[in-house]
């Protein structure tokens, strides 16, 4: 019981210290800093450049798509690494395991490619009335031929 009491005290200290540190810093700053208001200071900081427009703009969704694609392949590489280290011992089963894993990601990647998510200048083909992509990318052509 003593053990857990100590832990409860520890938890309390953790919580209180966490709150105190974040608010304390703000409070101390508020108390001791000199106050020289200037419109430049109130403006959004853009690396020293004069700010253009407000900070609350809608970011282009394409940034997120790129970030997501990067994240997936980053994680994939991270998972490939330990696999490569033990590959010799694990034998052929490990190869199949990894092929299944890799295959799933490749299907996702091909999907992005096929529907134009990798093109920076996005065609409006997604919004036509047949609701299929008309634009002929290499993959789409190949797929249609193959069908």
């Amino acid at each position: 019981m003593e053990y857990s009491n100590n832990l409860v005290i520890g938890l309390l200290i953790f919580v209180v210290a966490g709150i105190a540190m974040s608010f304390g810093a703000l409070l101390i700053g508020h108390l001791i800093r000199t106050k020289l208001p200037h419109p430049e200071k109130a403006a959004a900081y853009e690396c020293g450049e004069p700010a253009i427009g407000p900070g609350w703009v809608q970011f282009d969704l394409r940034f997120y798509v790129v970030a997501l694609v990067f994240l997936i392949f980053d994680i994939e590489v991270a998972l490939f690494y330990p696999w490569a280290v033990v590959y010799k011992e694990a034998g052929i089963a490990a190869l199949w395991d990894m092929l299944v894993f890799f295959g799933v990601i490749v299907v996702g990647y091909l999907y992005l490619w096929r529907f134009g998510y990798l093109d920076w200048v996005r065609a409006t083909g997604l919004h036509d009335k047949r609701s299929t992509v008309r634009r002929d990318d290499a993959l789409g052509r190949a797929a249609r031929q193959w069908m």
Binding site: S4, L7, G103, V107, F115, H127, K129, S131, T132
Partner: protein, 538 residues
């Protein structure tokens, strides 16, 4: 150095037979990939995407059904150590995955019907069908994982992989403001609860040096529940309570149900809760699997009982003033989650006799879940058809429905009275089983809470029935797709049958599922026979 370590421990690989046992999970995961792959070949074809999702659901359900009827070889595995399984396959998980995949197929059918109903975002629905079905089957996969694991880390992963696609689905109507709001609320709420849940898991791991629930349970049995264990357990269970939408983690539920399109509302109201309750049952059962740990878990179970009582009371009271049918049914589903949580709170109690007897609590939840699926599917189906016809989901759209479309009126009335729990409907008989289980567990106060809540709920369910039959309306008759009418009629028939002729069969089926529920314990350290009996407790 690395090589020395590797040489010391032989590398573990799952065998082909082990992988084969996880068929239902493979099947769902394969369906997701197949939907994407088909899109590569044939383009954005909503029929193909929907057909693959349906096929995947049917195939998964078949595999699960074979597992259920074939007396699924209880199996715990996919881990180097047999005593600490990552994934569990047993009758219980097979049943829940069966339920989820059958529901997946039914909701897909509902989606198809909604296509021709002339809702405003029709073109977008067709266009984005591929993404829709990937997310849809993805959330089903996460829910299937939730009911087939007994490892803290896997539970967190499963809850996340069920939640993340659900966030997307809730906000799938991009141009629809309430949907975006619902999705944002859902994400924020889910993020906070899962953060707390991970924190709880880390506290448990720090204390017991294992992520396996069985091992944690034996450790609790020998050490007793310290304050830290209690904090860890509660924090961990918050993540699951969020999925079940137990009060006070229910705030996302009404907004999401109102904002999301009706198929998604239907899906979340049943599948998300089924998975959450299955997981909750498994956690509570595994944590109390020895005599000592069952004794220690008593306090956690009492806390769950209190949460269950609050959940259904708050759910029922909040439903009173709702005029949007989807929102009303959201609160109703919170209340029903409360009833089922009541059963979860008695699962720690020992069974009357040794192994082979089903636990009344899990049996009651399984029976309740089956009827709850039918009731919600039919009720939401009627709401959907009224919406397709009138463009409204509010109470006034239901005025005079009993005369504007007699079939839908009768079906809706059946569902409503079954949701209340009136005989001779399925809702009554399952609530009766639940109360009997509570009585056996001598939780008399909880029975009073349940009965009181049933009375409360009668008011707002009856209000809809009143509007359907006693409020005059000169609106046009409600025209609904024939397939949809047939489907909800079948549901209503099943509700009536399960309350009358098939009540015994429902009971024996759910007993059977919960009897072999934790057969998966056998390869682990503790045999089912070691489960404490009533005699050994006193």
């Amino acid at each position: 150095m690395t090589h020395a370590l590797l040489a010391a421990t032989p590398l573990w690989m799952p065998s082909a037979a082990d992988l084969q046992r996880l068929g239902p999970l493979w099947s769902l995961a394969g369906t997701i990939v197949a939907v994407l792959f088909a899109a590569l070949l044939v383009g954005r074809n909503y029929r193909v995407a929907g057909a693959i999702a349906t096929l995947g659901g049917v195939f998964t359900a078949t595999l699960c059904w074979r597992g259920i009827t074939g007396g699924a070889v209880p199996f715990a595995g996919l881990a180097p150590e047999a005593a600490a399984p990552m994934l569990v396959v047993d009758q219980f998980s097979c049943f829940f995955i069966f339920l989820i995949s059958v529901f997946l197929v039914l909701v897909t059918g509902m989606w198809f019907m909604g296509l021709d109903a002339g809702v405003p975002d029709e073109a977008a629905r067709r266009r984005d069908a591929v993404e829709f079905f990937v997310l849809f089957v993805g959330s089903a996969f996460g829910m299937a994982l939730m009911v087939s694991t007994s490892n803290l880390l896997m539970i967190i992963l499963a809850v996340e992989s069920a939640s993340l696609p659900s966030y997307g689905l809730a906000g799938f109507r991009k141009k629809h403001r309430p949907a975006a709001e619902a999705s944002l609320k859902y994400i924020l709420f889910g993020a906070v609860t899962s953060a707390i849940s991970v924190y709880g898991a880390s506290l448990l791991y720090g204390q017991f040096h294992t992520l396996d629930l069985m091992k944690i349970s034996t450790a609790i049995g020998s050490q007793g529940i310290s304050v830290l264990t209690g904090v860890g357990l509660f924090a961990f269970l918050i993540g699951v309570a969020f999925k079940v939408s137990a009060v006070p983690f229910h705030f996302w539920c009404p907004d999401v149900f109102e904002g999301a399109s009706i198929e998604i509302t239907t899906w979340l109201s049943v599948a998300s809760k089924a998975a959450g309750l299955g997981l909750m049952l498994r956690i509570m059962w595994l944590l109390s699997c020895t005599v000592q740990s069952a004794d220690a878990m008593r306090w956690v179970a009492h806390a769950v009982a209190i949460m269950a009582a609050i959940t259904c009371t708050v759910g029922n009271f909040s439903a009173f003033r709702q005029t949007n049918l989807k929102r009303l049914l959201a609160f109703s589903s919170i209340a029903h989650a409360g009833y089922m949580l009541m059963a979860v709170s008695i699962i720690w109690q020992p069974r009357e006799s040794a192994a082979g007897m089903p636990h009344p609590a899990s049996s009651a939840v399984i029976a309740y879940m089956i009827v709850y699926l039918l009731m919600n599917l039919a009720a939401f189906g009627v709401v959907a058809m009224v919406y397709w016809s009138t463009g409204r989901e509010t109470m006034d759209a239901f005025n005079g429905l009993g005369w504007r479309n007699p079939l839908l009126g009768v079906v809706m009335a059946t569902c409503l009275f079954s949701l209340v729990g009136l005989p001779p409907l399925g809702g009554f008989i399952t609530k009766y089983y639940l109360l009997i289980a509570l009585y056996d567990a001598s939780l008399i106060w909880l029975i009073f809470v349940a009965v009181f809540n049933t009375l409360l709920s009668l008011y707002y369910y009856a209000r809809i029935a009143y509007a359907m039959y006693f409020v005059q309306s000169d609106e046009a008759p409600v025209r609904a797709p024939a397939m949809g009418q047939f489907a909800v009629l079948m549901c209503a028939a099943a509700i009536v049958l399960s309350g009358t002729f098939y009540a015994g069969k429902l009971k024996s089926f759910s007993d059977q599922r919960s009897r072999d529920m934790y057969g998966a314990m056998q390869p682990t350290g503790l045999r089912v026979a070691e489960r404490p009996t009533a005699d050994s407790m006193h």
